[in-house]
């Protein structure tokens, strides 16, 4: 997912499954974080009255989450770390759901402790990890790189649990761990920081065998600094921390397994079990008691510690309170306890169940038993599930196909069991539980689901229903034409629960053929790669529930092969074209080789040999059937193209060119496939129902909405090149300055592709190299672009109406409805967009495979949010402030309003929309910009103040075409108002204040819309055209950047009055700048002239290309 992608989730009525495997409460007690077996993290808002409401779901892990921990000093940075079953680790910012860092290590962690020692440690601290490996790993909390390990000298083994002991008394932090075999080990922490940093071996200080297995928790009593609580699954024990002598052992009842425990206060502990019971004990000091009340010495529980040592401190437990999860008594769950001694905080016991339910208990400060001495029951304070959120905020949890069932029988909504989006037709194909298949226009379906008052759409949405085919739920769909253009466009293949695979004609709604596989539910339908054919046709491959694989020949309408020997689920299917083998890799690492012609099993291999076979034919893979995240699969789909193109671009002196090129390639590919609007069906593990994510590509939208077609040459880039070179030549003494401008000029171009730190070295040699590098980057990017010859045609397919509808839907989703009623109406009237039914669930992408999605009801999570905005889509309170700030810096644009008066209504509407979108795009870009680049821009601000007579480089970012036109005029004084710079500064400033992208976007949108509508309010639309010529060309140019999408005639006029200087082709520049010598540029002007004459005249009025292309490169 790119940063310019805006995602909106259509959740449907059912919450995605979230089987909690890890749970924690943040230090400020405002948020609960849970990790699930499905791999997602969920952030739950915890109000000051201990009310829970789910806020957002974080996607990123592809396996079950094993543990969570804070990753920073929480008051400074709200970061947490999560570790997954497959070794992935992610650091998340829990306030905005963004992923900060990730790493995949070959270690599976089961517990993580954050350790930071401010006065001895530089950096962000350590994550001490233990898990399915020997001893304790020390991982840097910032970079997630392994720093070192704590090694045990005696019987090294896996570590089950650990805790950090800060003891005031001995002024030393220690790490206490218990190994799988039950060995307690102690490492010095604070005194070994130095030796760890110097990578010396650090061995344990003490080691003691505890004689019990399956340790669950170890806790140190910070109140007495004396007792140590160790909970094993069948017993819990109390030790004296001074000499590790055993003070008490309590064995669990039958069938009961302890899961954890915590020290509540001095001599008071809480123990919980696997099945959700907790017990609070008072540890009575027998010795003290005996001294005090000698008469009570004959207590019933007079078992002395087994070792019978000196009774310095002998204790026994007394049960004070018991707590239990009432319903679902036997569901497995994870629990935790939060002990806060500070006043506004509660003592909270919390549990997360496999069913996704969270339960909280407020533990009284002084728990007491009943008067008769029997334990008191503490009631549940709150309990909540994801589904509760969905039920409560059902207006927000629209599904994309709700409206169909609405008119069908009005009863239950159809459950979509599989869906497929066909970008080329903008069709969404949904297979339902009852066997029907809907085919509908995706955009309209999304609109009907999200917007209100669209009653026209709701009743009679054009759609097709394929009934009569399947009698059971449709489990998989495949649109063959989407994968290979050679196949018939009307074909659709669907598979159902009952092992039927049906070939449809989607235009005539006829069944062309039915295959009956007799092999259980059809779990996936795959397509053979384009270059692997059988009898000159591509083949469909279906994987069924009994792990069998069938090859279906669509043209021949027959089943070629049915491979049924697999004992384990199919993980990978490959094709050996020469020998015509089908190679099937199974989950148990075995490989089956089938001969396609005869249908016989050629070979069956396991172990090492199987691995070799699978690796040997890499490029012929059909598809990995089991992917966890469809987002990841989307990337996977593009991989082949990406690899091909990246391999040819591995050149250049840039530090990591391969990587950068690859990333930009990916971007280009993703765009090629997706277009400005895409629907992503998401399915989670262990559940058939899924939900949909609408993806809007801001960048692509802006591009498509601009009137002229995209051409392969990018004039703006080349123009920059020439400008830079010219300057470099003329002002040698200002070389550094020029270079910085160059950098900023390239800034927006390289925001995504080039994240390398910009060094401010004044040395000339350095600079020239840098310059050449920058140009290199451009060139490379352009090559990639031009190699995608198919792109423009693809874009064209997306017809204009659809694009503008997409843009409107996006604006509807982003606007804060209900903040200003009048504004709402104006928007509806003038922009012709529709109001939302309720707040939308927006998504935020951190990068390709990490993103967060808001859950229904997120808007009520912000406690400070007013109830007045009941239907508002306001992302946070902050938006209004930000928006006001923005408005105050916004210049009063007379030109803009005048411009608006000139043009007819429909033009105005679309123009405004494009204008708003491009603004949003820029804001998005700015806020997402990597820090290094941001620094570069900031420094350019300073530059600007010094060299004010030059044009402002910052403008490039704000609006590239403005510079372009300025340069064309040869004007050096700034035409653009200072306000633009201040706007830019403001937005950059937001980034530093960690304003979320969505907040920034909404704030800017609100401000811009307000501004825009203000002018509309003042002057009713005047359709009489005013002579444009009077305004003068310069005026026009000033308007252009603002309303860059003005109509063609105007554009023509502008272009005509400009001095004829056509952009220089970039390739030439590269050859020039690659020589990395500025002296060479002396002959530059000649070349410019030369190429000007060469460049075709039609390019001249493609002024917009500059904008389009530069945006695209951003």
């Amino acid at each position: 997912m790119r940063s310019s992608l805006q995602a909106v989730a259509l959740w449907g009525k059912k919450a995605p499954p979230h089987s909690i495997t890890a749970i924690m409460i943040t230090d400020d007690q405002q948020m609960i974080v849970t990790g699930s077996q499905e791999g997602q993290l969920c952030l739950w808002n915890l109000s000051s009255e201990l009310k829970i409401s789910a806020k957002e779901l974080l996607f990123g892990h592809s396996a079950s989450v094993t543990c969570l921990s804070r990753a920073r000093d929480f008051s400074k940075q709200p970061f947490i770390v999560s570790a997954a079953e497959n070794g992935e680790m992610c650091v998340w910012n829990v306030t905005n759901g963004q992923r900060v860092e990730k790493a995949t290590l070959p270690y599976r962690h089961t517990a993580i402790c954050y350790y930071h020692c401010s006065f001895r440690m530089t950096g962000e601290g350590w994550l001490l990890c233990c898990g399915e490996y020997q001893d304790v790993l020390i991982i840097d909390a910032k970079s997630l790189v392994i720093i070192h390990t704590f090694i045990s000298s005696q019987s090294p083994d896996w570590i089950n649990c650990m805790c950090i002991v800060h003891s005031m008394r001995i002024q030393e932090d220690s790490l206490l761990v218990v190994s799988v075999a039950g060995e307690l080990k102690v490492w010095n922490l604070s005194s070994s920081i130095n030796s760890i940093q110097e990578k010396q071996d650090v061995y344990e200080k003490e080691s003691k065998f505890l004689n019990a297995l399956n340790c669950r928790t170890i806790r140190f009593c910070t109140f007495t600094e004396r007792l140590l609580l160790v909970v094993f699954s069948k017993c819990w024990k109390v030790y004296d921390y001074c000499d590790f002598s055993l003070l008490w052992t309590e064995v669990s009842g039958s069938g009961q397994f302890f899961a954890g425990g915590e020290v509540l206060a001095a001599h008071r502990i809480i123990i919980w079990t696997e099945d959700g019971h907790s017990y609070i004990y008072q540890l009575l000091n027998r010795w003290a008691q005996m001294a005090a009340y000698k008469t009570f010495s004959g207590l019933s529980k007079s078992i002395y510690p087994a070792d019978g040592r000196v009774l310095k401190e002998t204790i026994y437990p007394h049960l004070l309170c018991s707590i239990s999860v009432q319903e679902n008594k036997s569901l497995p769950l994870v629990m935790g306890y939060m002990n806060e001694r500070k006043e506004p905080f509660y003592k909270v016991l919390f549990s997360g169940e496999v069913s996704g339910r969270i339960t909280l208990w407020h533990i009284p400060d002084v728990p007491v038993s009943k008067f008769d001495g029997s334990p008191r029951e503490i009631p549940i304070t709150t309990t909540w599930t994801l589904q509760d959120n969905f039920d409560k905020h059902h207006t927000m949890s629209q599904s994309i196909i709700d409206h169909f069932s609405g008119f069908k029988d009005g009863a239950d909504t159809a459950v979509v069991t599989s869906s497929e989006y066909v970008p080329s037709l903008d069709k969404l194909i949904c297979g339902c539980e009852d066997g029907t298949i809907f085919i509908t226009q995706a955009l309209n379906a999304a609109k009907a689901g999200l917007l209100e008052g669209d009653s026209l759409l709701k009743g009679s949405l054009p759609h097709k229903v394929l009934k009569e085919g399947h009698h059971h739920s449709v489990t998989s769909l495949l649109y063959p034409h989407g994968l290979s253009s050679k196949l018939d466009q009307s074909w659709l293949v669907s598979g159902d629960q009952d092992s039927w695979v049906i070939l449809w004609d989607i235009y005539t709604e006829e069944i062309l053929h039915k295959f009956f596989l007799q092999a259980g539910p059809v779990t996936s339908l795959l397509m053979s790669p384009e270059n692997f054919k059988l009898r000159s046709h591509q083949v469909i491959c279906s994987v069924c529930g009994d792990h069998s694989v069938a090859l279906l020949h669509l043209e021949g309408r027959r089943c070629l092969l049915s491979a049924r020997k697999h004992l384990f689920p199919v993980r990978m299917i490959k094709w050996h074209p020469v020998e015509n083998f089908l190679i099937v890799g199974c989950a148990d690492d075995s490989v089956y080789i089938w001969e396609i012609e005869t249908g016989t099993l050629e070979r069956h291999e396991t172990g090492e040999r199987a691995r070799i076979i699978l690796n040997c034919c890499d490029d012929s893979q059909l598809l990995k059937p089991e992917f966890v995240l469809p987002v990841a699969s989307e990337i996977h789909k593009h991989k082949s193209v990406e690899q091909r193109s990246s391999s040819s671009y591995q050149f250049g002196p840039v530090p990591c060119p391969g990587l950068q090129v690859e990333s930009s390639c990916k971007v280009a590919d993703a765009k090629f496939f997706s277009g400005p609007f895409n629907v992503l069906p998401v399915k989670t593990k262990w559940s058939n129902a899924g939900f949909h994510i609408l993806l809007f590509d801001l960048e692509n939208l802006v591009e498509l909405l601009l009137p002229t077609p995209i051409c392969d040459v990018d004039p703006s880039n080349s123009f920059y090149g020439s400008e830079i070179l010219r300057r470099a030549k003329s002002t040698v003494e200002k070389k550094t300055l020029t270079l910085k401008r160059n950098k900023t000029a390239c800034g927006p171009l390289s925001v995504e592709a080039e994240g390398k730190p910009v060094s401010e070295s004044p040395a000339q040699g350095d600079n020239t190299i840098k310059l050449s590098e920058e140009n290199d980057g451009i060139k490379r990017q352009k090559k990639i672009k031009s190699s995608k010859k198919m792109r423009p045609t693809q874009s064209r397919k997306f017809d204009a109406n659809l694009t503008i509808d997409t843009a409107k839907l996006l604006l509807s989703c982003l606007l804060p409805w209900g903040v200003d009623k009048e504004l709402d109406n104006l928007c509806i009237k003038h922009l012709n967009i529709l109001k939302l039914q309720g707040p939308v669930s927006l998504g935020l992408a951190s990068n390709e495979d990490h993103f967060s999605l808001m859950l229904p009801g997120w808007d009520l999570c912000n406690a400070e949010m007013n109830k007045d905005y009941s239907k508002a889509n306001l992302f946070s309170r902050k938006v209004l402030d930000l928006s006001n700030k923005y408005t105050s810096t916004l210049p009063n644009q007379a030109g803009m309003s005048r411009e608006l008066e000139n043009i007819s209504d429909s033009f105005q509407e679309s123009n405004t929309i494009v204008y708003l979108l491009s603004k949003l795009f820029l804001v998005n870009k700015l806020v997402n910009m990597p820090l290094e680049l941001a620094c570069g821009i900031d420094s350019s601000f300073k530059m600007e103040s010094v060299h004010n007579k030059m044009k402002n480089p910052g403008n490039d970012i704000l609006n590239i075409s403005s510079i372009y036109s300025h340069l064309r005029n040869g004007k050096s004084e700034s035409h653009l108002p200072e306000a633009d710079i201040s706007l830019l500064k403001l937005i950059s400033c937001w980034r530093d204040q960690s304003v979320q992208v969505t907040e920034a976007i909404q704030a800017v949108l609100l401000a811009e819309v307000q501004q825009h509508m203000k002018t509309l309010r003042k002057a009713p639309v005047n359709t009489e055209p005013v002579s444009v010529a009077e305004n003068g060309v310069y005026e026009m140019i000033q308007i252009l950047p603002k309303m860059g999408w003005a109509e063609e005639p105007e554009l023509q006029c502008t272009a005509d009055t400009l001095p004829l200087q056509t952009p220089v082709s970039l390739v030439k520049h590269d050859s020039n700048s690659n020589s990395a010598n500025f002296q060479d540029t002396e002959d530059m002007p000649d070349r410019c002239v030369l190429e000007e004459s060469e460049s075709p005249g039609e390019q001249r009025h493609n002024l917009w290309i500059s904008k389009v292309c530069s945006c695209k490169l951003c």
Binding site: P17, Q37, Q134, L213, F257, P332, H471, G520, F568, D588
Partner: protein
């Protein structure tokens, strides 16, 4: 159409009944069977007569290869640790006999066995939490449990079937080389690992590459077994493997354990498949 629906309604009732039986009876039967198998497997790892730390039974294995008798080793395994090792090496050039053994005070943990054992006990622990008294409510619950168990079992098996691929410098740096008394000569490297059911000992004979040698130096990557000619850098020296000797011996109980793993994995998968048959009937019911 109507008859089809009626038939399925009756069918559904039967299927639901069957599914209930599966969840309430069959699952527990399979889990018990699994537990028995895994307990048996874990017994193999902690040998009979163990229980407490000190009294772990010792087993001697004589390692040899069918081809040559240049290397002979007697390794003593005590649970997951090598407690004694005697290696005899006949130098190929001068037929000189080298003998070296473990230091008395040292033990070498075979990480592969330890990990496999721990994975098995994790799997047993997962199963032990779901005894007869536990009621499975949904098929998904069973699938999740089976997935977790299978993950542990697959890892346990993979630990034994895939020895670590080490580079030569990693072998040289490992603690195993420092275990011997008298110390290993500098031109010898020793590695011990488990491959499937076999305990393997490899001895690498090295010779130093001349600093000005014309051979272009290319350090070898990680491998289970390096072949002669593999080069690496150790300290300031560049070394090349001149001879490789590999001897092995089957550990019978590892063989048993592997069989148990495979059988229990298949049991798990079969249970998953049985549950999946009913998937259309349980997946839409609330948890």
């Amino acid at each position: 159409m109507a008859t089809v629906m009626a038939a399925t309604a009756a069918e559904r009732a039967v299927l639901e009944e069957e599914f209930r039986w599966l969840l309430h009876d069959e699952v527990h039967a399979v889990l018990r069977q699994l537990q028995d198998i895994l307990k048996e497997a874990s017994l193999r790892f902690t040998l009979p007569g163990s229980g407490t730390e000190g009294s772990m039974k010792q087993e001697n294995f004589i390692l040899g290869s069918c081809g040559t008798d240049q290397v002979k080793g007697v390794l003593t395994l005590q649970g997951d640790a090598l407690s004694q090792a005697d290696v005899n090496l006949k130098m190929p050039r001068n037929n000189q006999l080298l003998h070296f053994a473990f230091r008395e005070d040292k033990q070498w943990k075979l990480q592969q066995i330890q990990d496999a054992r721990n994975h098995v006990s994790q799997a047993i622990y997962l199963l032990a939490n779901r005894d007869e008294s536990y009621q499975f409510r949904t098929g998904a619950e069973v699938l999740k449990l089976m997935d977790a168990v299978m993950l542990q079992l697959t890892r346990a098996r993979n630990r034994l079937t895939t020895p670590a691929t080490l580079t030569l410098s990693e072998i040289a740096a490992s603690g195993l080389t420092r275990m011997f008394a008298p110390a290993l000569p500098s031109d010898l490297l020793v590695n011990v690992y488990i491959n499937l059911n076999k305990l393997c000992l490899t001895v690498y004979q090295l010779h130093a590459l001349q600093p000005n040698s014309t051979k272009n130096f290319r350090p070898a990557g990680g491998a289970v077994l390096h072949s002669p000619g593999a080069m690496f850098e150790w300290g300031s020296q560049r070394l090349e493997v001149s001879h490789v000797h590999k001897v092995e011996c089957v550990i019978p109980w590892l063989n048993d354990a592997l069989v148990f793993f495979t059988v229990s994995l298949q049991l798990c998968q079969q249970l998953k498949d049985k549950i999946s048959v009913f998937s259309s009937y349980w997946s839409y019911r609330p948890f």
